[in-house]
């Protein structure tokens, strides 16, 4: 196992994050703080409680998840796309490092950044509202698991993309709409029957729901189903990544 190789990629990616703190950390934290002010304080005071939880508090898990998914995908996709764009990928491809090790380096770095941003948002939100975490172990586990899963998804997007526009395509046109419609800002139970049933097709619903359960003990769907869905998506991404490296898809000519 080329552990030094994995660490080299991990360290390189993390250094890039610290070189661009305003973009990597300050920007997502500021956006989330704005969500709290607009949806939490301004609009939230008119909404009242949802499932027995104050609306501003109800927002916290959804907003963290919204940021986590976007950050994981963008960090991982950019991480692998940029070497392709700049040509530095030659060094990775000619090094004695296996596809699994390459993936570990990039995905772990992207997931670490997301977890860090998620935790910073959690701490930031504590300045606005009172935070309750009923299942802290599960909260952390969900945070890590979803960061890894979506970093892997972002890694695939980064390999598939052959220009900067394509990197934004799936996050902008699929991921963000699904996250907004996945219960980030509301409970699925608040929707009319038809839209409720349709929402269960949205995989993001399961992620947000289980994450919110770790905070308040309440969930729109069964937590076991949520975890199973996340793990299924994780395995699917892993299978796809191993196929990419086996065939050299979009990497080797």
């Amino acid at each position: 196992m080329n552990l030094r190789g994995i660490f080299a990629i991990y360290h390189f990616e993390m250094s890039r994050m610290f070189r661009t703190v305003s973009q990597s950390i300050a920007s997502p934290v500021l956006s989330t703080a704005l969500y709290f002010i607009v949806f939490g304080s301004a609009i939230g005071s008119k909404i009242g409680n949802i499932d027995g939880v104050n609306y501003t508090s109800f927002l916290v898990p959804g907003l963290i998840m919204l940021t986590i998914l976007n950050q994981s995908v963008s960090n991982a996709s950019f991480g692998i796309y940029f070497p392709k764009f700049s040509g530095t990928i030659y060094e990775i491809l000619s090094a004695p490092i296996s596809p699994i090790e390459i993936t570990c380096g990039y995905v772990l770095a992207a997931a670490s950044k997301s977890v860090l941003v998620g935790l910073i948002i959690l701490i930031t939100s504590a300045f606005f509202i009172e935070i309750t975490i009923l299942h802290p172990f599960w909260m952390l586990l969900f945070l890590i698991l979803m960061s890894i899963t979506f970093s892997l998804f972002g890694f695939i997007i980064g390999i598939w993309a052959n220009d900067f526009q394509k990197i934004q395509l799936i996050p902008s046109f699929i991921l963000t709409p699904l996250t907004f419609l996945g219960g980030s800002f509301y409970s699925i139970g608040m929707l009319p029957d038809f839209w409720q049933k349709l929402s269960y097709v949205n995989p993001i619903v399961y992620l947000i729901s289980s994450f919110r359960w770790s905070f308040y003990g309440k969930s729109d769907v069964n937590v076991v189903v949520s975890i199973s869905a996340t793990l299924f998506f994780l395995v699917l991404c892993m299978v796809f990544v191993s196929w990419i490296f086996k065939t050299g898809y979009k990497i080797k000519t």
């Binding site: 080299a8 990775i92 090094a95």
Partner: protein, 303 residues
């Protein structure tokens, strides 16, 4: 010992282009092998396949006897690659990019070795500079330093001195010779015939995806090169018309040129001189010109 072994290697692209056609090549450990060829001949494709960047269509590549796909961790650990294009992480510091390269190849960190590489390539004063602030020539040296950071046994250089000034080119040649003395095998592609002529032990010529010839540099020049003997005489041409006819000499004022090609004819220069002396021709001067690699190269690829 064979450092690089290539057998029946073929590479075809989806659009039908055959980039490499049945390449067979061996490079011995510790030698400098230069591959010459015009643009699009297949030089970079060959290097990319050996190093694992491109896929082959068929054939076999071995590094120190091990298959470059089945034993890729072993083979790649022996190889350092300097690609044709300068591709670096612009915002990274020189020293950090070397540490990254060394780590990627699973080598224990060594500040001492990296300092030695930086010193050898005159980069010590730039080690804490971001790469984007360096000149083109320095970036090229950083690329070489990266390729050497993991102490490779084989160094591939894809047109390493393209766009580099004469001084730096000569510095690099000296450096490559030092590496050779330390046992590093060097495989380079180049457009500069002078480069191959100066530093290579063996030369290969590739054209349209086919290896036209591989030969020891001196032998190649001897074998394929033309030798021109220019004799300046102090007598009338008419006096020796039968000699000019016999040896097919070219006349230019008082100069007679005899061209000998080892592939085409027998060397009759001794007999020519003897005939001239017998005819009482006064010889003022004799010059011998050997064709250089550039003439050989052009001769081969233009066929």
């Amino acid at each position: 010992m064979i450092a690089i072994g290539i057998k029946n290697l073929n590479k075809s692209y989806e659009n039908g282009l055959k980039a490499l056609k049945n390449i067979n090549l061996s490079v011995r450990s510790g030698e400098i092998f230069a591959l010459l060829g015009p643009n699009g001949a297949g030089k970079s494709t060959l290097i990319n396949i050996i190093c694992g960047i491109s896929k082959k269509t068929s054939g076999k590549v071995t590094i120190f006897g091990k298959d470059n796909i089945l034993d890729y961790k072993f083979t790649r650990s022996k190889i350092g690659l300097v690609p044709q294009e300068i591709a670096t992480d612009s915002f990274e510091k020189v020293i950090n990019t070397l540490k990254f390269s060394r780590g990627l190849f699973n080598k224990v960190p060594s500040d001492e070795y990296l300092s030695f590489i930086l010193k050898s390539l005159n980069l010590v004063t730039k080690k804490n500079n971001q790469i984007r602030t360096l000149s083109g020539g320095m970036k090229r040296r950083v690329m070489i330093a990266k390729a050497l950071s993991h102490e490779p046994k084989i160094l591939f250089l894809d047109e390493p001195t393209a766009g580099v000034d004469v001084n730096l080119r000569k510095t690099l040649w000296n450096f490559l010779n030092k590496l050779k003395k330390n046992g590093v095998t060097i495989f380079l592609t180049t457009h500069y015939i002078e480069e191959a002529e100066n530093i290579a032990d063996r030369i290969g010529i590739i054209n349209n995806g086919e290896i036209v010839i591989t030969e020891n540099k001196k032998k190649l020049i001897d074998k394929l090169g033309e030798k021109k003997i220019i004799i300046t005489i102090n007598s009338s041409h008419n006096k020796i018309s039968y000699i000019t006819k016999k040896y097919q000499l070219k006349k230019n004022k008082n100069k007679l040129s005899y061209i000998y090609n080892s592939k085409k004819n027998v060397d009759l220069s001794a007999s020519l001189l003897s005939d001239l002396v017998k005819s009482s021709v006064k010889i003022d001067d004799i010059e011998i010109e050997k064709s250089n690699l550039e003439e050989i190269f052009l001769n081969m690829v233009e066929k």
